[in-house]
């Protein structure tokens, strides 16, 4: 059977969704950006401790993919996960309060930045071990197929994870058993401080499924409409029982790997160039205005509402009480 293995062209024509949807993508991307900026601030103020991996720059990936799925589809990702949670519909207050380690957080402060979940939103977590979520996503897809649903599992991982052995174990099983899983490689080009070129013999990550017969595509991950269009094709493939699909999202993170990253592995000019030329939110804003889907006044109102929601989340996250020490011994086993 002929399979798609291609790079989606940057200027490939894409269907233009209704204005209402376009505005939602803009809103959701901007929400993630402002949320992450606030998280960065709270970290700087010492209110968030430990690890905090910001999603700034990559917003189009998760917002575009979320637009390609529906009710009951599952999502699992790694530790750069705040954006995924917000896109899945998890409340900013609960996410921010988990970052500050408070009892109002999604995991009551037991998880932290990398470990939040919502069964209600079919979000199977943030996972802190590089690549470990990939077989889990494969197993969730097994469950979806076993229960004879037509749902799919979006399994996100990064270019760093793409070199983990268990990713290929997962590819093999998913294709062997025709599991409804879409592997989304968020290629932000740096696995912490090591570039794809310095770590990968095959840098075209969408081709990593070739020997298993899994179709793969490279997508402009800085263009929410390109992501959505590619996502819809991949989801349709998996939903129809044809097995897994790989989407390599070429994206970029503007901030460091985590908050303690001196970013010596790339130049300021490189970051600046991406910001000014490819920023997913700026591109969407321009698209909305030039296409007369919206105007500056309306978009300012969107900005204002988001800022308010983020401020409220930050306040909640600072005022929510710290969990009791006794919580340490809860939820280890069903019965203590």
């Amino acid at each position: 059977m002929a399979r798609t293995r291609r790079k989606r062209k940057l200027d490939e024509p894409k269907p233009v969704p209704a204005t209402e949807e376009l505005l939602k993508y803009y809103n959701d991307m901007l929400m993630i950006r402002r949320f992450e900026e606030k998280a960065g601030q709270l970290y700087g103020m010492g209110l968030i401790g430990g690890f905090c991996h910001l999603y700034i720059g990559q917003e189009a990936v998760v917002v575009g993919m979320q637009a390609a799925i529906g009710e009951g589809d599952a999502v699992i990702t790694s530790y750069r996960d705040h954006g995924h949670m917000l896109a899945c519909g998890m409340a900013p207050k609960g996410v921010m309060a988990e970052l500050t380690g408070r009892s109002g957080g999604y995991s009551k402060g037991k998880g932290g930045s990398m470990h939040m979940f919502s069964r209600e939103q079919s979000f199977f977590g943030g996972h802190g071990i590089v690549g470990a979520q990939v077989p889990l996503g494969t197993g969730i897809a097994f469950g979806l197929k076993y229960r004879e649903t037509d749902r799919v599992c979006l399994t996100y991982f990064g270019d760093g994870s793409a070199n983990q052995g268990q990713v290929y174990e997962s590819f093999n099983m998913a294709e062997l058993w025709k599991l409804p899983v879409i592997y989304i490689i968020e290629n932000n080009q740096y696995a912490m401080g090591t570039s794809v070129q310095r770590s990968s013999a095959q840098t075209e990550l969408f081709r990593r499924g070739e020997s298993f017969g899994i179709p793969g595509e490279q997508v402009d991950g800085m263009d929410v409409l390109a992501v959505k269009a590619a996502g819809e094709e991949a989801v349709a493939w998996a939903r129809s029982g044809r097995g897994p699909y790989i989407l390599e999202m070429k994206t970029y993170r503007y901030r460091g790997h985590s908050m303690s990253d001196p970013a010596k592995y790339r130049t300021k000019e490189e970051v600046q160039r991406v910001r000014s030329e490819r920023d997913p939110i700026d591109r969407m804003r321009e698209f909305l205005v030039t296409g007369a889907h919206s105007d500056e006044v309306a978009l300012k109102a969107v900005d204002r509402d988001i800022k308010k929601a983020v401020t409220e989340a930050a306040e909640f996250a600072q005022n929510s009480p710290e969990p009791a020490t006794s919580e340490l011994y809860t939820d280890i086993l069903l019965e203590a």
Binding site: P135, F142, N172, L333
Partner: protein, 337 residues
């Protein structure tokens, strides 16, 4: 009641579990078509179909990781790692994902899976087919660890493990699969037939996790054992005519501390035995617990009889294996103090 080997009892438990709950799926390397290298899953694929009992590729990390995803989704996977010695590639998944999912999601997600593994030595398997890695699992908060010593327990405990809402490591002493091996490797193999604990009730029943069993009551000393070593201890106590109480722990975590403490308080002397290596073995935990809970009742230091701190040997298997002679010497020493 039917007389069963441990293999038949495990197969029966899987059959009962699959019959009761459509969410139970059974898989692993050679598990489906072939029926498992030790035949524990023989016939299950024919009975329940390839969707519920199937073969996996040889990739332990992927098998366990996928099972965790299935379990988080809502299924009850019961998978086989062909030998406990093969579990190390999956250790990250067991520790970082299965054991920790409940806590870090504040109870929103759990991983109710059972990982069956043949464990222990006595079959000339050498380094990579003989190890007893139970302490690697008892060290991890969020896991339960079970080691049955006979067919009746194997069935009841496995059914309890599959029904349990937490991840369970189910270690099957492979030298016990076909008979109650008592360490006398020079003698003819004793089959399970005729052993009272090989009488296995038909249909469903379960043995609660966390409850030890006293296999032989006694007053002079307590032997804490599990798996194959239960039979080694029983044979040696009988041969030497020592009035020792032999406690079969059955599950290491949760541990039946009440039973252990009651026994040692009664006897005042304690020998801990296991096949695994000595240092940081589960016996160290048992010895520490006994001194914490029974210090003023102890007449002698707690003794440990274990495998040596070496890789599991091939040629010197019976030098390594803590057989009847070593258990007996330790008991005699403890009784003389």
């Amino acid at each position: 009641m039917a007389t069963m080997t441990m293999i038949e009892a495990i197969r029966d438990a899987l059959d009962v579990a699959m019959g009761r709950d459509d969410d139970v799926v059974v898989f692993g390397e050679d598990v489906g078509y072939f029926g498992g290298v030790f035949r524990c899953t023989q016939g299950l694929q024919a009975k329940y179909g390839k969707t519920r009992c199937f073969d996996t590729p040889i990739n332990e990390s992927g098998i366990v990781g996928t099972a965790i995803g299935m379990a988080a989704y809502g299924l009850r996977p019961c998978l086989e790692i062909q030998f406990a010695d093969y579990v190390y590639p999956a250790y990250d998944q067991i520790v970082s994902e299965a054991a920790r999912l409940r806590h870090r999601s504040n109870g929103d997600f759990t991983a109710p899976l059972t990982i069956r593994m043949p464990t222990g030595g006595g079959i000339f398997g050498g380094q990579t087919h003989s190890q007893s890695p139970e302490a690697l699992f008892t060290h991890v908060a969020g896991l339960k660890t079970v080691v049955p010593s006979n067919p009746r327990d194997a069935k009841g405990l496995l059914l309890a493990a599959i029904e349990d809402d937490d991840p369970v490591i189910f270690l099957e002493p492979k030298r016990l699969y076909n008979g109650p091996f008592d360490g006398h490797h020079e003698r003819a193999v004793t089959p399970w037939a005729g052993h009272p604990l090989a009488e296995v009730p038909a249909g469903y029943y379960s043995e609660p996790l966390g409850r030890a069993a006293i296999r032989r009551p006694g007053a002079a000393a307590t032997v804490l054992a599990y798996g194959t070593m239960v039979h080694v201890a029983l044979a040696d106590v009988a041969a030497r005519g020592i009035d020792a109480e032999v406690v079969d722990l059955r599950t290491l975590l949760p541990l039946d501390l009440d039973c252990i403490a009651a026994s040692v308080r009664k006897t005042g002397r304690c020998v801990v035995v296991h096949e695994a290596t000595l240092t940081s073995g589960f016996g160290a935990e048992l010895a520490a617990l006994v001194q914490e809970h029974c210090f003023f009742h102890l007449e002698a230091p707690v003794a440990r009889v274990t495998g040596w701190d070496t890789p599991y040997p091939h040629a010197q298997e019976w030098d390594y294996f803590p057989g009847p002679a070593r258990v007996g010497e330790a008991l005699a020493a403890v009784l003389e103090i």
